[in-house]
Subunit: 358 residues, 2 copies
């Protein structure tokens, strides 16, 4: 008899229909066929999903907990997503709400604790900004990075739109920005990290990570919903010295609770930092979602990184909400300073350093 | 000045706000920063998204067409999805509705036309069934496949839940099922194809495809939303002799129109067959969605494959609706026949062969 892991779905249903609907999901997410056509006793006992609990959560929605066989996952992150929500994602009365992660997925190789050590930042939140707009030549991106770094920021990441475009090919961008940031850190004495954005397939990402490593970098970013879950897990195994940051691109389209997808699954598969659209920015996540997402990430040793319309003016409020185990990522708002970017970055870094953490 | 490709979003908005909202999406999906902070004229001209049209489609929804710079895609399928819907997916007033595909993505290496030639099936629809339940040992799966093939079906696919589990490892399952189907085809004279399901990361899938090729197979299946879009595109390039079937797992969770995602994008990136949940089964797609999805797939030389609760009793209705350029995939309903599976498969094959296509 194989072990089980529990998956919780939020299901819209009337009270009379919920038991049958729950059994339907348990079958869909395991054997996907009529039980009466199964002749193999072991399959019925060990593989068919089991409804473990059904609880009303209000407004005609029920929390349905289903035990799935751990053997079905075959230790693969993509297959895990397939078993947890593959076909049921196609039925729009169901949201994938939570998962008791099986021990198969060890979390990030390098996460929050590692970032505190590497940056020498103990008690405060981290600061970060983004290289954009895409379309700029490599030289301009490098100069922008240098000015951010001269301002003393902890992290400078590629905009997630930066891929391997002809106007800033990865093979030129990564060394140029790494060198620019290194020049700045020799002046400031602060070990600012550049986070290049990985793109393409597994082989392209490997090549970009090897190049990054050759340039002395130890951080990189990818979007798991685009790259594939197994790609993230594989890169975690092959580059255990890197902190991998997960970008949420294409992740909001899913009927998967953000606190689960971004806060728990991405870290479980290997992300040491999880970027997400914070409440109060350009996106619609609630404060409760953001709080839960950040807690989930921290409990997996991953750094929660609220973003998406953060401003310097909101620094105190954001830090009061998220506390010191976070990175404040301010992109467009810093870039508004144009010629005064290094000074603005410095003001940002100081505000985060001087904040009275509760 | 770089070329543009058009992306159409359906946006919930009031009439007064739609122009500003459309401009917001155009910025989010290109430079993702305030335009007034951009000093580079070429970026403003060539890279920033342009609102091309706004048309009301009723019920407080507008069709917003935005021209994005083709250069931003860098010829990568994943980056294409990132530019088309990466961040905007996180805003729940927007659905990715349609895309005028740029010529960068050539479609399947082997598609519908190739399937007609390989199977020697000219004027009728194709037949297929699925190996399940998962949890059965390799020998049982192989015997099931042989019985399906003895019934004269065109395709026998792995259930999409079959990955690389200990109870039926890919390295044993693929050769065993291939041999079983080959035995049957020597008896029937009909070139039934086995479609193994690929799992894991790019390297695992490559190994499984090489094994499949060594076993004389020329078809395989993967779930692009789980594997990653660039993985599909890469496998298309590396295995141009294979027909790659796209499974929709995890695809329904997205706020991306199914006719676009499954019918157009998966084929554009390399799928020669597109499995989707048909109207009238266990899933909620409308007849209009199914019709449009099937048309999109065919126009990319991909075979539309309605599935998800099809039954033998519905054969005539389904074939009247989809016509001959389709595969009728009946899984669980055939398996109900248990000991009489070969006979039921034969009845199914004959019903599809004898159908009066209009």
């Amino acid at each position: 008899m194989s072990g089980r892991f529990s998956v919780t779905y939020h299901v819209r249903s009337d009270a009379a229909g919920i038991e049958a609907r729950a059994r339907g999901i348990a079958v869909e997410q395991s054997v996907e066929m009529p039980l009466e056509a199964i002749g193999d006793e072991a399959v019925l006992t060990d593989i068919v999903g089991a409804v473990e609990a059904i609880d009303p959560v209000g407004d005609g929605v029920f929390a349905v907990r289903i035990g799935l066989a751990t053997d079905t996952i075959a230790s693969d992150a993509g297959q895990f997503m397939n078993m947890a929500f593959g076909n049921t994602s196609l039925q729009d009365d169901v949201v994938l709400w939570d998962v008791d992660m099986p021990a198969l997925f060890p979390g990030p190789a390098q996460g929050l604790a590692s970032l505190r050590t590497r940056l020498g930042v103990t008690a405060r939140a981290f600061t970060g900004s983004a290289l954009k707009p895409q379309g700029m030549a490599v030289g301009k991106l490098a100069r922008l990075a240098e000015r951010f770094a001269r301002g003393g920021l902890d992290f400078i990441k590629d905009d997630h739109g930066l891929a391997d475009q002809r106007y800033s090919p990865a093979a030129e961008r990564i060394p140029a920005v790494a060198a620019a940031v290194a020049r700045a850190t020799r002046v400031t004495g602060h070990p600012t990290r550049y986070i290049p954005s990985l793109s393409g397939d597994l082989d392209s990402m490997r090549a970009q990570l090897r190049l990054a490593r050759d340039c002395g970098l130890d951080c990189a970013m990818l979007a798991p919903m685009i790259a594939g879950f197994s790609t993230l897990a594989r890169l975690r195994r092959e580059f255990p010295d890197f902190v991998l940051f997960a970008h949420p691109a294409l992740g909001g389209a899913a009927r998967i609770a953000p606190a689960l997808l971004i806060g728990k699954l991405f870290p479980a598969f290997g992300a040491g930092g999880a970027i997400f659209p914070s409440y109060g920015g350009r996106f619609g996540y609630s404060t409760e979602t953001c709080r839960q997402l950040a807690e989930n990430a921290r409990s997996h040793d991953a750094l929660p990184i609220p973003a998406g319309g953060m401003t310097l003016a909101r620094t105190a409020e954001i830090l009061d909400f998220y506390g010191p185990d976070t990175m404040l990522l301010i992109g467009g708002n810093l870039l508004m300073a144009r010629e005064r970017i290094a000074e603005e970055a410095e003001r940002f870094a100081r505000a985060v350093a001087d904040h009275p953490y509760g």
